[in-house]
């Protein structure tokens, strides 16, 4: 069972100009004192086409985390516009907040982001080269997509603990640790996608 439950994420400063930093106020609850820090990341998806354009806006360590309910504001700079394909600058994309513990991602919170020109004129005739100063970023805060993953909360040396983290339908074991980042370790199945009603 996950030791950390995310209770709420409030999107601050939204909508806002494209260049403003992202601000998420994250409230989470922890069942017991965590010996290690949590690592939170904000990932901006530059293009739906490819993960190549994903940008990790920032990552922070959060700790120490004693048992209880906590909150913090995670602020990260706006994406580097130079890394966004021009064709994808305007329109809908996604921002992700992920949290890892001992290098294992256990929750992924995604939001749709709509980047639009506020000026009607620009909307009608968007420039070929996107004018980021005129773009407004609107995060669809009311519809977070939360995916939770089973991970091994104990130290990797811990005995048998990973047994309970194995999805009952699969026989694969959770690797004691996996690379933070994109390559997903095999065998980790997303669980409890909360939005599947």
């Amino acid at each position: 069972m996950a030791k950390v439950q995310v209770l709420n994420v409030a999107v601050l400063d939204n909508p806002s100009p494209f260049g403003n930093p992202f601000q998420f106020e994250i409230t989470f609850e922890c069942m017991e004192d965590l010996p290690e820090d949590l690592e939170w990341k904000i990932i901006y998806v530059g293009s739906a086409e490819s993960e190549e354009y994903d940008q990790v806006l920032d990552s922070v360590l959060v700790g120490p985390v004693p048992a209880g309910r906590h909150m913090f504001v995670f602020q990260a700079d706006a994406p580097n516009t130079g890394l966004i394909p021009e064709s994808d600058a305007v329109g809908v994309t996604v921002v992700l907040i992920t949290c890892t513990y001992r290098g294992q991602e256990f929750i992924r919170i995604g939001y749709y982001v709509n980047n639009e020109y506020t000026e009607p004129e620009l909307r009608e005739n968007p420039p070929i080269k996107p004018d980021y100063t005129q773009l407004q970023r609107n995060i669809l805060a009311s519809n977070p997509r939360v995916t939770r993953f089973h991970i091994n909360w104990e130290g990797s040396a811990e005995r048998m603990e990973d047994c309970e983290n194995v999805d009952p339908t699969s026989n694969s074991k959770v690797p004691p640790s996996c690379l933070p980042g994109k390559a997903p370790p095999l065998g980790i199945l997303p669980d409890n996608s909360m939005d599947c009603l």
Partner: protein
């Protein structure tokens, strides 16, 4: 919604107060525990009332299917066991109001917050059944790992024992209602009964199960409320499936319930004992009390039996599409929930005409008392008292605190007052959560780690200690995702960013109707089969391409559709779900098993709405013909002889060399050339003695060397050292440690911790037998059986050559143990199991412990043990009495002892303990036993003693010179003790006047 998924429901249990029930089963890709409101099930009006929530809470913390959910008898806890090998214990988090599960698009709020307070890990296989013992002393769980684990329900996650013996998957558990046994049924073709006294097997019943195959998921057996019968799940008789009746008297298996076409999965006795309803006009016949039992089977039918009838009262066929998995009765005995593998739950209610008149708790207790001698009256009187009006706000506060305390025990049978509505403007250090949030970014502590990474220290907004959040700290309502300020109303909050239809149909109220009364008398079988209807208001086509990014961490992003025009056309619409009008329960949204949050799939899943038919059980009665019962016995007296108490044996611990001189009563240590002694570990203090080390001018000198924390000192003595002792206090601020040595010439010398001589050499009357130093006290026990104690600091004798002859009465009684307490009280343990201490104030020997005392063995104060610091505080009393003092372990084997006798024995024992702790000047033990004693008095309702105790602790309110009342005892302030006793008193509402009286006086004194 859980029921809506159509996933199997494996377990159902109605809360003792009848206002809610829990279900457990398979969720989307985890196990699921849900808590439902009972009112919409019972009353059609409430069902239609959109303001009455149906679902109260859902927990998907179990990683795999939940096989069993059970409420504790006091209703404070819910235990769940699942395929993830875990047992979780849940507790309601009061003061936290409704909240949604973050990210759940349903926006369905958890009206109540239940949080996992303990995870019990021990099983190595799926947990199939869990059961709370009467009084919630233990929680038992059984598993496919062939074992049963008994957990200490007062001290989770402590384990009491394993019950090993089954050779197959253990699939059902039931406690004997009087707590003497627990029974289990397993796939190994056996039903076993275990004793709670020693946790050994009492009986292994195999015959009725020899033909059984392991085809049922569960084997939930049940014990009748009078304790006389145990009814098994799946058994076979002449190749037909039955429910075997096992008689308590000799575990005979002569009867069974016959008629089901497939294996019996679950048997559940009605908690009430009934007697025949007296017809108006007819002559009252003294009918024999009987029990009522429901049997559910794989054949999808349910039968209900009265032990007074040869045929079933009712048989309901085809109630479900799949096997029945669990049954739960309401405490009133008139309603029943049945759940099935098909994902539905049915409610049945019965009338008094059908079942008979339920005996009240008093009558039930008197039946128990007649049969077993031991009464369960303690809890039941409390249950009755729960309806008592609470007169005092302090009392109410205590009651609520007690309910909230994770370790609360022996609570009233039904829940007390609902916890107050969440405070929405609660504060934190005078600051509201809103204020904190405004400045959080500025205020939060951010540092850089050594490698230059950002590190944020999160702001703790609520502590998690006992599993509850402090009411003052947390603004209970969830924070709006938009970050806007929280309003006082919950409904607007929930509807804030979703369609209005949703808000109204799922409208929430902070608390639900207090309702508890018996259901309407008409007999309707109401299916809970309903469904949550969802429609998609809109789709967001282009986002599909991005959807995978929400859930997958993989590179694979195949089949990406171009987004572009569609987006602009559709604009930025919010996918929302809007349940249509829904009835009490729901069924069948088959959502895809994959986890991609494909909005289209989710939104489009529309469901059938199963309306349920209201069927009269009368019409189903004809099903009864298939069932036949062979014979029925009456409840009988339990003739089991009470086991004989084991004779007490005490290993003699005479450590000293044998054969003391005839004139001397006590043995003396022999003189060695050299010896060393470790006084303490921390700090490390060693004494080394070397006798006759040097010859100076013809006289032999002996050397005493002391090493303390690396600092050494030594001194010379003119005679050989016989024995040495030292005291070492590691944490004392005003350390006054001493070292004492007794020499062959009967001289006793005392040195300071630095080797300075503190007392002139003391001449002992006879050679020394034992020497002890504690703090600044020195105790010498001589071979002539005299005892002396000196206070070195004050240079005074506390005990002067006191003879042990008074206590060494028996012919071969010797001293087996001697010690000196921190307060300088000498304690002597004798080989006959008795321990004495010399009270210098009373100037006499006092008996403080007698291991052979029958009171020790019979006193039953288990129910009064404190929950948190349940370990007996280590003190001289505990040392002398031994750790085997096990809260009346032996008591339960004397369950034939009349309750009042046991009560008196326990009371006498506890008072002895108090007096002993007092004379030993052991303050911590005194406090420990005082609280147990107070709790015992409260439980037993001994008002006079309780009042006297309070009076003594309170003392005179108005000072006068004449009073001899001491404000402290053993350094403990009596009024502080009273403050600790008051919350104990409050546990029994009967004493609320007493509570108020002393609470007021304490307040008065405080203000003075």
């Amino acid at each position: 919604m859980f029921c809506s998924t159509g996933k199997p429901i494996f377990s159902v249990d109605i809360h003792p107060d009848g206002t809610k029930f829990a279900t457990g089963g398979q969720g989307e890709d985890s196990g699921k525990v849900m808590i439902w409101n009972m009112a919409p099930v019972l009353r059609e009006d409430d069902e239609k009332n959109e303001n009455i929530p149906k679902m109260l809470c859902q927990m998907d913390n179990h990683l795999a299917c939940v096989n069993c959910v059970r409420w504790s008898n006091n209703g404070l806890y819910l235990a769940s066991g699942g395929d993830d090998k875990l047992v979780m214990v849940w507790k309601r988090a009061a003061f936290i109001g409704p909240s949604t599960v973050f990210g759940s698009s349903s926006k369905l709020a958890n009206v109540e917050q239940w949080r996992c307070v303990t995870i019990l890990r021990n099983h190595t296989g799926d947990v199939m059944d869990v059961a709370w013992s009467p009084h919630d002393v233990w929680l038992a769980s059984c598993s496919v790992d062939n074992t049963i684990v008994i957990w200490n329900a007062r001290k989770f996650p402590e384990m009491v024992t394993w019950l090993r013996g089954h050779t197959g998957l253990v699939k059902g558990l039931t406690w004997d209602p009087v707590g003497k046994y627990i029974a289990s049924q397993a796939d190994d073709h056996s039903l076993r009964v275990w004793r709670t006294v020693d946790w050994q097997m009492e009986a292994n019943i195999t015959k009725p199960f020899s033909e059984c195959g392991g085809t049922t998921h569960v084997l939930r057996l049940s014990w009748s409320p009078d304790g006389q019968y145990l009814v098994s799940a799946h058994a076979m008789n002449n190749s037909g499936p039955t429910a075997q009746i096992v008689e308590r008297d000799g575990w005979k298996t002569n009867m069974d319930f016959v008629g089901h076409r497939k294996a019996v999965t679950v048997v559940k006795f009605n908690p009430k004992i009934f007697k025949k309803k007296q017809k108006n006009g007819s002559a009252p016949k003294p009918g024999c009390p009987y029990c009522c039992c429901a049997v559910g089977s794989k054949d999808r039918s349910l039968s209900v039996w009265l032990t007074s009838l040869k045929r079933p009262l009712v048989v309901i066929h085809d109630l479900f599409d799949k096997s029945i998995m669990d049954i739960s009765w309401t405490l009133t005995g008139l309603g029943m929930l049945v759940c099935s593998m098909d994902g539905t739950v049915a409610y049945l209610d019965f009338s008094l005409d059908e079942l008979g008149d339920p005996l009240n708790e008093e009558e039930k207790n008197s039946i128990h008392q007649n049969i077993y001698g031991k009464s369960l009256a303690i809890t039941s009187t409390e249950a009755q008292l729960s309806t008592t009006i609470i007169e005092n706000p302090e009392m109410l506060k205590y009651q609520q605190e007690r309910q909230n305390s994770a370790q609360a025990n022996l609570g009233p049978g039904s829940a007390g007052p609902e916890s107050s509505a969440p405070k929405l403007n609660s504060v934190m250090n005078g600051e509201s959560l809103e204020d904190i949030r405004k400045n959080l970014l500025k205020k939060q502590v951010e540092t850089r780690t050594a490698d230059g990474r950002r590190r944020i220290t999160p702001l703790c907004i609520a502590q998690l200690d006992t599993g509850d959040f402090s009411p003052a700290l947390f603004n209970s309502a969830p924070i709006l995702p938009s970050g806007s300020s929280m309003s006082n109303q919950l409904t607007p909050q929930l509807s804030s960013d979703s369609s209005p239809g949703q808000a109204s149909s799922l409208g929430l109220r902070p608390s639900h109707d207090p309702m508890l009364t018996s259901p309407p008398p008409n007999s309707t079988a109401k299916g809970l089969k309903t469904s949550l209807l969802l429609t998609s208001a809109s789709k967001i086509e282009p986002m599909k391409a991005l959807d995978s990014r929400f859930t997958e961490r993989s590179k694979a992003t195949p089949g990406v559709t171009k987004r572009g025009q569609t987006v602009s056309k559709l604009g930025f619409s919010v996918p929302s779900s809007r349940p249509k009008d829904s009835i009490s329960a729901l069924k069948d949204i088959k959502t895809k098993d994959d986890t991609s949050s494909d909005s289209e799939d989710k939104m489009a899943s529309i469901n059938k709405n199963l309306s349920f038919s209201k069927r009269k059980p009368e019409t189903l009665m004809d099903g009864g013909e298939v069932v036949e019962k062979r014979k029925k016995g009456r409840p009988r007296k339990d003739k089991m002889a009470a086991p004989i108490a084991q004779p007490f044996t005490q290993p003699s611990r005479v450590a000293a060399p044998p054969a003391p001189p005839a004139a001397l009563k006590l043995p003396t240590p022999s003189i060695k050339k050299a010896f060393s002694l470790q006084v303490s570990m921390e700090p490390a203090v060693f004494l080394e003695v070397e006798n006759e080390v040097s010859l100076v001018a013809g006289s032999k000198l002996s050397q005493l060397r002391c090493s303390r924390d690396g600092r050494d000192w030594n001194t010379l003595l003119p005679s050989s050292v016989v024995t040495a002792a030292g005291s070492s206090s590691s944490l004392c601020l005003h350390r006054f440690d001493v070292v004492a040595v007794a020499c062959q010439d009967r001289m006793l010398s005392v040195f300071s911790s630095c080797g300075r001589r503190l007392l002139p050499a003391i001449q002992l009357p006879t050679p020394v037998s034992a020497l002890h130093c504690t703090a600044h006290f020195v105790m010498a026990l001589t071979a002539g059986a005299t005892l002396s104690v000196w206070d070195v600091q004050k240079q005074k004798a506390l005990v002067k050559n006191e003879s042990l002859l008074t206590i060494l009465s028996g012919a071969d009684t010797t001293v087996s143990q001697s010690l000196l307490t921190q307060q300088g009280v000498p304690v002597i343990g004798l080989s006959n199991g008795k321990s004495y201490c010399f009270s210098s104030s009373l100037e006499t020997w006092t008996l403080i412990a007698d291991k052979g005392d029958s009171l020790v063995q019979c006193a039953d104060f288990r129910s009064c043990l404190p929950t948190q610091d349940a370990l007996v505080s280590p003190g001289p009393l505990a040392v002398m009495q031994g750790r085997n003092l096990n809260a009346g372990r032996l008591a339960s084997r004397l369950s034939s002892t009349p309750h009042h006798l046991q009560q008196s024995m326990t009371m006498a024992f506890l008072e002895n303990q108090l007096a002993s702790a007092l004379t030993l000047q052991s303050a911590q033990e005194y406090r420990y036993w005082l609280l147990i004693y107070a709790r015992f008095l409260v439980n037993e309702g001994s008002e006079y003693r309780l009042r006297e105790l309070c009076k003594e602790l309170l003392g005179p309110v108005h000072k006068s010179a004449a009073t001899a009342w001491e404000p402290t005892t053993l350094g403990l302030r009596k009024r502080e003790l009273l403050r600790e006793v008051l919350p104990v008193i409050v546990e029994n509402l009967r004493f609320q006047r007493l509570f108020t009286e002393y609470q007021d006086q304490l307040e008065l004194l405080r203000n003075k």
